[in-house]
Symmetry: C2
Subunit: 349 residues, 2 copies
DNA sequence: CTGAAAGCGCTTACAG
DNA sequence: CTGAAAGCGCTTACAG
């Protein structure tokens, strides 16, 4: 492998000048620069990254540590994110180092990777409120970006979708169709996005003058079984107490809701409207529902380029506070939503 | 961060001695070694891997390049493998660098990672016959291990399950139950494991005196839809030409076969026996089938430790030829297999 | 058993 | 505009 010294020898230049020419330093004579470039090409020169790293302190690698969960395999979004991020980083000449966290101490895996790989920064996903990983990285002044934030007002770089807006939009759609008793099958209560959506759900319901019943709100993983169990409980209530619409925080949940409605012979959208947020491949999944599912949607994929850019800026020295990217979800009106069914309650109104 | 120099200064030793003490060189005075260890601990010393790499030429990282396929997300095995490998490598103090390959030239991604990351070696999955990636890595004398081999007699390090044996065992079970017309829904025809299984399928069928009909053999991706389509075609044949048993190369395929049998009102196992190979979580999936699915099984997870060990040995300089690990699949007899149904053909025999 | 020295391949003040 | 020198933090012949 050719080195800077080799190129210098070839051209009668010092390695220092070759380095400057190749790295675009302005003071280099443009003719010299051309000769250097030509020779570098000819000799197939590739900078030795390790040597560069030793002197610059940068590694050109970023780490991502996955927390192992038994039901990870059911969740395709994580995989999308991994491949999407890897591709986005590749384009920017950065490598992704992957590790899995299997220990009780969530910070240990970060310490280990840091001591081993000299990654320049990290990408975190699924933060929790008071996330110890974030506290650790901030305390050590290590660059990182977060997919989703762990607080509405986050003071670190993050990418997030506008969770409040999508909750607001969904509720607005349903209330405008006349629904007043609306169930909400949400994600895990500890996660920020779920809290944000719930909060705005309450605000939007109040704005529409619709009551919120705690028994029509459920939290859990974004799985079909949680959707099914939640919907079954809500829909088994006596006629008149039963929701006429259900909002779901994920399409898998909606799948469970559909199944529960089917089992109870409740027709969608005639007797039950369903809206969900779709973070997988907008449309692809939802279109296959019968009837096609109305969604707010933004794919995981959309996060990858912004995340890569934010992290690279942060590593380059940008202050963490300003680095944020909030993406609005799109609305896809399909056939799972319709006017609220007439019932006694309405007559009384 | 403490360096060797710092420890040396602390103890009145040269960095060279500190290095030797920490790296277990035998000539170091054992008392000196103890003092060095104590000081290293106390100062929280962590070797700077980048510096080590610059001089040793080793990076302590290995790469894995995933080929993007549209239906990757449906396939949980890849994710299992990624997390399993990452964990296995972590235990051995090696990091996994991940990239995705989105280009037409399958070798380009390897060249790029090599020029950027100085990984010590690679892990390949799903090799094809005459795989250009393998040719490239061999030509450049780069260490790698392969999950599955691209030729029965491979001259590089690999982990594989014994595909011939599992085909042989499956056929033996079915023929011993009296089945003679056996369908085979296999993986993609280009892949070596599929070829190995098919080859042994033919051998085992011949050994049992059962005819092999080409129209009862189908190749494709390990998806439910391929299983369904294949089984539908086989089972729609007139009574007497229809298979009484189907062997599947994956549990997703078997799921499709079950669905086709259900749609055609063909009872399992009374009218149709089904056996599949299960490479996910042996048992977990198959047990949920109705009736529970008879399988040969070995999880992807089982491959991870052997793959990590083989690669590390190869990087350390072991000759490639001897490095192999062939794992036999286990047999799980469940309720999807039963005696062949009596029919005219049998009466005539 | 330990130290001084050279070197891995680069970058970057400091001179000129 | 270019070069000589120092240095990033380690390892490892070579001396002693």
């Amino acid at each position: 492998m050719a080195t800077l010294k080799d190129i210098g020898a070839e051209l009668g230049l010092s390695p220092a000048t070759v380095s400057r020419a190749l790295n675009g330093f302005p003071e280099v004579n443009s003719e010299t620069r051309e000769r250097v470039r030509e020779a570098a090409d000819r000799l197939g020169y590739r900078p030795n990254r390790v040597a560069q790293r030793l002197v610059t302190g940068r590694s050109g690698m970023v780490g991502m540590i996955l927390r192992m969960r038994p039901d990870m395999r059911e969740d395709p979004t994580l995989f999308d994110m991994l491949t999407g991020l890897s591709a986005a980083l590749s384009l920017r000449d950065v490598d992704l180092v992957l590790a899995v966290d299997q220990e009780t101490d969530p910070v240990a895996a970060y310490e280990r990777m840091l001591s081993r790989s000299l990654v320049d920064g990290f990408i975190l996903a699924a933060p929790e409120p008071d996330d110890p990983r974030i506290a650790y990285l901030q305390a050590h002044d290590l660059p990182f970006v977060v997919h989703g934030r762990h607080a509405f007002q986050a003071d670190y770089p993050f990418y997030d979708i506008d969770n409040r807006k999508l909750a607001r939009d969904s509720v607005a759609l349903l209330t405008s169709l006349g629904h007043r008793r609306i169930g909400f099958v949400n994600g895990e209560a500890e996660l920020t996005y779920a809290q944000d959506r719930l909060r705005e759900f309450r605000v939007a319901m109040a704005a529409a003058g619709a009551p919120v019943e705690d028994s029509l709100i459920s939290h859990g993983r974004l799985t079909e079984s949680h959707g099914y169990a939640s919907a079954l409980a809500m829909l088994s209530r006596p006629e008149g107490l039963r929701p006429t619409a259900i909002l779901c925080s994920g399409t898998m949940l909606a799948k469970g809701v559909y199944r529960a409605a089917h089992d109870l012979a409740i027709a969608i959208p005639q007797a039950l409207s369903v809206v969900a947020h779709d973070d997988i491949w907008p449309g692809l999944e939802a279109d296959r529902f019968d009837p096609p599912l109305t969604t707010t949607a933004k794919s995981m994929r959309a996060a990858c380029d912004p995340l890569a850019d934010l992290l690279i800026q942060r590593i380059a020295g940008a202050a963490p506070a300003g680095l944020r990217h909030i993406e609005e979800a799109d609305f896809f009106l399909r056939e799972s939503t319709g006017p609220a069914p007439p019932r006694e309650g309405d007559a009384r109104r």
